[in-house]
Subunit: 134 residues, 2 copies
DNA sequence: TCATAATTTATACTTATTACAATTATGTAA
DNA sequence: TTACATAATTGTAATAAGTATAAATTATGA
């Protein structure tokens, strides 16, 4: 099932802009901010509006086709990897990478509460940056 | 060791405003935003400035006397509980409560990276709100 | 007391996100 | 094809959290 079909299956009419934003997220697993998506796509779509990017992201998140990732307080990032996982952000290079954690722990919490979102973010310095420090 | 002594021990001269903000956080374990702290303390300190609250919070966080908690993307919260833990935010009543998780998992991540901050937040509906639904 | 430094305050600024209205594209009935 | 209704996109203005700056106040200590 390609990206276009996924949108249709979720009741989203696959406009050009929507397809571009969704495809961008599925192709580039870099946890971009709305502005980065806007800025990168503007090269191919000069008429693109920032509002549209925000609208599409909210639409996709509402249908659970992407997830919002809150690491720093001044930037909301987006992720098309739906499998439950956390993130590691390197404060040196800024890269955000995936961290997968134990499902059993989440099940324990889920027994008592109705979970709708989990944010698990670790900030630090990654292996690469630590080694390149010498 | 009382709050005043803790500030002094950490090289922070214990001004009235600083002591009030720090005491507020230690007394009320509600993970307030900067604005809530400002708004609540203004009742006792009518001359209090929002900038001061932000300044004090940043000062305390810099000395690791409090922790920043990032749950929603539009509000930064603060916590005087320093033991490593995550949070559960109820989307019904808005309350933020503590969630303690396995230290071993964090150790595994720590072997490879230098961790400076961990944010573990769960959003959902709490036991109370689930039961009061009928 | 007086000078100096530290702290607080008020104000203006920045910036991510949202609200809103105007414009454009799309699909369908006549 | 044309006209119309609806959906989607765009540009602009508004909102609001957080930050920067400088003036005003307060504390310190010679
Ligand atoms: Mn991810
Ligand atoms: Mn807590
Ligand atoms: Zn790095
Ligand atoms: Zn609740």
């Amino acid at each position: 099932m390609n990206n276009k079909e996924i949108l249709i299956k979720n009741g989203i009419s696959p406009s050009f802009q929507r397809l571009q934003v969704y495809s961008y997220l599925r192709k580039n697993n870099v946890h971009p901010t709305a502005f980065k998506i806007y800025n990168d796509l503007k090269k191919q779509i000069p008429t693109l509006s920032k509002t549209t990017v925000y609208n599409v992201l909210k639409l996709l998140a509402g249908k659970n086709l992407i997830r919002e990732v809150k690491i720093e307080d001044n930037e909301l990032r987006f992720d098309a990897v739906l499998q439950e996982h956390g993130h590691f952000k390197c404060s040196e290079c800024g890269k955000v990478t995936d961290v997968f954690y134990d499902k059993e722990f989440v099940d324990f919490i889920e027994k008592r509460n109705k979970i709708t979102d989990i944010q698990f973010n670790i900030i630090g310095i990654c292996e690469n940056c630590l080694n390149n420090k010498n």
